[in-house]
């Protein structure tokens, strides 16, 4: 079902519901945006964009049926790219049919432990039938590119899941996800995830995806979080992946190495004003390709209205060398006015494109302000300047006017 089909169907359902005489609630947000940026290939571009997000609720007496939508349209004003649109979702959601079934119909984001995508189709959740609940979903697979949709005829997605429900400290699910590319099966994955809280201070979790075509575990994650207090979380994780490709791609027949990663990290909220974190990852790409990644960060709130964020990470090993981080400040100057600014800096040297002159430096400086006009309107301006190997100065930004209804 294409976009037009979805729209027609939802319009039909909407009109039917409207005839029932119940006053529907329509809420949402409109965001009108003027953007200016440098396109890598086409140079300076100025665009006018309109985002619209809405929900239509109380369409029936019990409030079980709602419609949700979100999309955007942009008009290029300088480079002749014209009108560009993206419909993120537009679906009708009927909940608690016979107190056992939730149904969503239309374009929507779907997410299973075996796979994720956007579909033009439907999802049904069967619940309240015991300790196990079920999900079935399927429809046309929607793929977004830089300038529009890249989906082709015969791109479909289908998935189903069974999961434990009602258990407060335990999650367990098994799912299956399949994609078609021009009518041929391109992906066929079984997934599962598990979570268990223990002793009020330990969380065990895992996640796995098994590629039925390549007969390998595409991804496996196992982790433990220990939180002796709610303010301190210690994490240990092991992750491995075996890259698999669409069966319709020639790359699906090539041998690849297994990627493995061990992570340890600590997140500590010292008090309401200071939170710190640090972590280390050891990465293994096979055949002696390894890298070490370190990261550290903190959030400071010296006064109630001021927040300072700092984040740093360092990659050393396979792939090259990267040292960089972010710094940002947000200040609620008044109840209506928020001011913010920050910078990001990276020093890097890539194995893939080595430079003999030493590290390249990339910097980005930005400033922003947001002013709230009453309860339902706000205007904001954000301007940034990039200084890097491509640009001595690349000023780009956006002006946004938001209206909530």
């Amino acid at each position: 079902m294409g976009i037009k089909g979805v729209l027609r169907l939802l319009l039909f359902v909407f009109l039917l519901s409207a005839t029932s005489g119940w006053a529907a609630d329509i809420h949402g947000k409109s965001s009108t945006q003027l953007l200016w940026f440098n396109d890598f290939y086409n140079g300076r571009q100025i665009e006018l964009g309109e985002y619209l997000q809405f929900s239509v609720t109380k369409l029936d007496k019990d409030g079980k049926f709602n419609i949700y939508g979100y999309g955007r349209g942009t008009q290029d004003l300088t480079n002749g790219e014209g009108l560009n649109g993206r419909l993120y979702y537009l679906y009708g959601d009927y909940r608690d049919l016979f107190d056992k079934l939730d149904v969503k119909l239309g374009r929507q984001f779907v997410n299973l432990s075996a796979g994720t995508t956007i579909i033009d189709g439907g999802q049904a959740d069967l619940k309240n039938i015991g300790p196990v609940a079920f999900t079935v979903l399927g429809g046309r697979d929607v793929v977004f590119g830089i300038d529009g949709e890249l989906s082709r005829d015969g791109n479909y997605a289908l998935g189903m899941a069974a999961y434990l429900t009602g258990f407060r400290k335990t999650d367990l699910d098994v799912s299956w996800f399949r994609k078609w590319d021009e009518g041929d099966v391109s992906r066929d994955i079984v997934g599962g995830s598990f979570k268990q809280y223990l002793l009020d201070s330990v969380k065990l979790y895992s996640n796995a995806r098994y590629d039925l075509t390549s007969e390998v575990f595409n991804e496996v994650l196992a982790g433990i979080k220990y939180f002796p207090t709610a303010n301190l979380v210690l994490t240990g994780e092991w992750f491995q992946s075996y890259p698999t490709f669409d069966t319709t791609s020639i790359y699906s027949v090539f041998a690849v190495n297994r990627y493995q990663e061990g992570v340890v990290r600590a997140d500590y909220t010292i008090n309401e004003n200071i939170a710190v974190n640090a972590g280390y990852s050891r990465q293994d790409y096979g055949e002696d390709g390894t890298a070490d990644v370190y990261e550290a960060g903190c959030t400071l709130r010296p006064i109630n209205t001021l927040t300072i964020g700092l984040a740093y990470d360092r990659h050393e090993g396979y792939g090259g060398h990267l040292d960089g981080g972010t710094f940002d400040v947000t200040w609620d100057a008044t109840k209506e006015l928020m001011l913010a600014g920050g910078l990001t800096v990276d020093a890097y040297n890539r194995d893939f494109f080595p430079t003999v002159s030493g590290d390249e430096i990339a910097q980005k400086y930005w400033l922003g302000a947001k002013y709230r006009m009453g309860r339902n309107m706000a205007a904001s301006l954000r301007i940034e300047d990039d200084v890097n190997v491509t640009y001595n100065s690349n000023v780009q930004g956006r002006f946004v006017f938001d209206y909530s209804f």
Partner: protein, 259 residues
């Protein structure tokens, strides 16, 4: 005695597990407007770890993809798609753009330049938001000669024709056949290291060589069109039928006359 101990342990673990598992999950709908630090007031006493910490971007995948995930009690789908698909209606001042698309914080500074390194921090990360076609849209505009990574460097350029002769760098690719008649490689920019690089990071090969034509110059099984170098993984014997059936032979026919 040993059996008794095992039975006791199984019974104890089961009892603890049931005790932990039977309680119902709390709906978070009524708390959707709360600030994250305020969540501690409940979570602290319930033994449930906060999961909206600074590690959330990396760790939310498992939470969000599990069956019955309760994300929608506080968030609508726009919250997911603003990062995953470039939306931006709820972008805060910190949020950056790439062209008209809004991008998450992980895409900092000059991401076009640093993404080859960042993409290695778990090579699966990119494909969670981007289809391979997305990468190809940009990479297809590259000139092959811009690339300098190990397998693509012109390593023959420093090799002399003889102990006193000139180096290969004085020749251009169209002259290869003069001295190497029948040579199957059209230019001298391909080195043996490519196999290791490809096995470590095959996804990056695909971003530029989307249809794999360059691979087939050596790996095709057809006589007179390739070196017939077998590229398949070790378990090929057990999986080749799967690939053939599911792709309707679309991949196989690229290299084989019969399969």
């Amino acid at each position: 005695m040993k059996r008794l101990l095992i039975v006791f342990m199984i019974f104890s673990f089961s009892a603890v597990y049931v005790q932990l598992a039977v309680a119902q999950k709390e709906s978070h709908k009524d708390y959707a407007a709360m600030k994250i630090p305020e969540c501690n007031s409940c979570h602290k006493s319930e033994g449930i770890a906060l999961n909206h910490d600074v590690d959330w971007v990396r760790g939310h995948r498992v939470l969000a993809s599990r069956g019955g995930a309760n994300c929608n009690q506080c968030h609508d789908q726009a919250y997911c798609l603003d990062c995953h698909s470039g939306g931006g209606i709820n972008a805060d001042l910190q949020t950056q753009n790439y062209r008209r698309d809004y991008i998450p914080k992980s895409h900092r500074s000059d991401f076009l330049e640093i993404h080859p390194i960042k993409a290695l921090d778990n090579p699966q990360t990119c494909t969670r938001c981007h289809d391979q076609k997305y990468c190809t849209q940009c990479h297809s505009q590259f000139r092959g000669t811009d690339l300098q990574f190990l397998s693509h460097r012109r390593q023959f350029r420093d090799i002399s024709l003889s102990s006193v002769g000139p180096k290969h760098e004085i020749f251009n690719p169209t002259q290869c056949q003069t001295c190497h008649p029948g040579g199957i490689l059209p230019s001298h920019k391909w080195a043996g290291d490519h196999a290791t690089e490809a096995r470590r990071n095959l996804q990056s090969c695909q971003t530029c060589h989307g249809d794999g034509d360059v691979c087939l110059k050596c790996h095709s099984a057809r006589q007179n069109s390739g070196l017939r170098v077998n590229p398949h993984p070790r378990n090929w014997g057990s999986i080749k039928g799967n690939l053939k059936d599911k792709s309707n032979g679309r991949s196989c026919i690229r290299c084989h006359d019969s399969f």
